[in-house]
């Protein structure tokens, strides 16, 4: 959730609800809370609407507002699940798709790979599922995002296999990223928001969107693979974590590199698009990545 909605008081409220009323009770409380945000948080509604307009082109304004509400509720459920899991209140069934493929990627190469994800599903829970790879996963994220995720994953505990690389470090943490991949580790990068950095304009949900090129530029330079990580909640107690899409850069010439990287970003955009079609209310892209494009 956005910074405004993901505050400590909110987390405390839902944590307490979970303990008192269980998972279903906490879910039930989400509906009035999300209705409040739907009515009063114009910024949240307007950013969510940029996605909803493109995903549900045929919807009228009323149905679009309902879709935004559904998106808020869905994200709330993902957050509640996260705390439910971490607090040890219960377990979810997790189906990990493509595990053998990434396992063989690691055993066939000295290098690690990039785990490219997006603001979809409960991606933090995926990190727990990937622990069996027995590799350190480095999450590229700003310190502000850290606070919530750090608590969730208990990052900082020496035994944990998830660590943070801050993009606010020297050269955006790029030197550390190169080093840890070279050492055989995994770096997780968000691929659906460019935050004003290098991006490529690609086709996405019938429009032209700006998606970051960083993951593919690094993979091309290091000759390592990019594994797309897309988790989805498929029932109240089950997640599917899909890591079956592997994109491997094959840059042949310097001159064609820029175009080749754009094609890789487009490939990722298609995978995201398929995800949005299958799980329309689990891509929490609360940002106008289609900025500059007309309606």
């Amino acid at each position: 959730m956005g910074k405004k909605r993901g505050n400590r008081a909110g987390f405390w409220f839902f944590r307490t609800s979970l303990k008192l009323f269980g998972l279903s009770g906490a879910y039930a409380l989400l509906y009035p809370v999300c209705l409040y945000y739907l009515i009063f948080d114009r910024h949240a509604v307007s950013t969510a609407m940029t996605y909803v307009k493109r995903r549900f082109r045929s919807y009228n304004i009323f149905r679009r507002i309902c879709a935004v509400y559904k998106l808020f509720v869905s994200q709330g459920k993902n957050l509640i699940d996260r705390y439910y899991h971490v607090a040890g209140l219960g377990q979810f069934d997790v189906e990990l798709r493509g595990y053998d493929r990434i396992k063989s990627l690691l055993s066939n190469s000295q290098k690690g790979f990039i785990l490219l994800t997006a603001h979809v599903g409960n991606w933090q829970a995926s990190m727990t599922a990937l622990k069996k790879l027995n590799k350190t996963v480095y999450l590229l994220m700003t310190p502000e995002e850290n606070a919530a995720v750090k608590n969730t994953l208990n990052i900082g505990n020496e035994k944990d296999k998830a660590k943070i690389i801050s993009p606010e470090k020297f050269l955006g943490g790029i030197l550390e990223i190169l080093k840890v991949i070279d050492e055989g580790n995994i770096v997780s990068i968000m691929g659906d928001r460019s935050y004003g950095h290098n991006s490529a304009r690609v086709s996405l949900l019938g429009g032209k969107a700006n998606l970051p090129v960083g993951a593919f530029s690094i993979a091309t330079a290091l000759k390592c693979s990019v594994v797309v990580l897309l988790p989805a909640k498929v029932s109240s107690r089950k997640y599917i974590i899909d890591v079956s899409h592997v994109i491997t850069p094959r840059c042949s010439s310097k001159s064609g590199k820029e175009e080749e990287i754009r094609a890789l970003v487009q490939q990722f955009a298609r995978i995201l698009e398929e995800y949005a079609v299958q799980y329309p209310f689990q891509w929490f892209v609360f940002s106008d990545i289609w900025e500059g494009e007309g309606e």
Partner: protein, 93 residues
């Protein structure tokens, strides 16, 4: 302290400038346009973090340097001067 071979250092600087222009596809810039003490990132030459990826690859492929060593020497990315001195020192190691 070991004496620096200025000729060898100048050769490294020239090679680095040529590789930067070629591999970073710097438009409207020739190797001669890059000053030895010009700041590479942000102001100056205006390179960004993704260009740093290319510089690391240049150092690995053309000068046999290890990414682990480079990660610990962030200061070498300041200018052509600092990069060249780093390459020179590593060659002498």
């Amino acid at each position: 302290m070991q004496e620096i071979n200025e000729e060898e250092l100048a050769d490294i600087k020239s090679a680095l400038k040529a590789l930067l222009v070629k591999d970073l596809s710097l438009e409207d810039i020739t190797p001669d346009d890059i000053k030895d003490d010009e700041i590479l990132f942000g102001e100056g030459l205006g390179l960004d973090s993704l260009d740093a990826v290319e510089i690391v690859v240049i150092l690995q492929r053309n000068f046999g340097l290890d990414v682990k060593d480079i990660e610990n020497r962030k200061d070498v990315f300041h200018s052509i001067d600092t990069l060249a001195k780093y390459v020179y020192e590593k060659r002498k190691d």
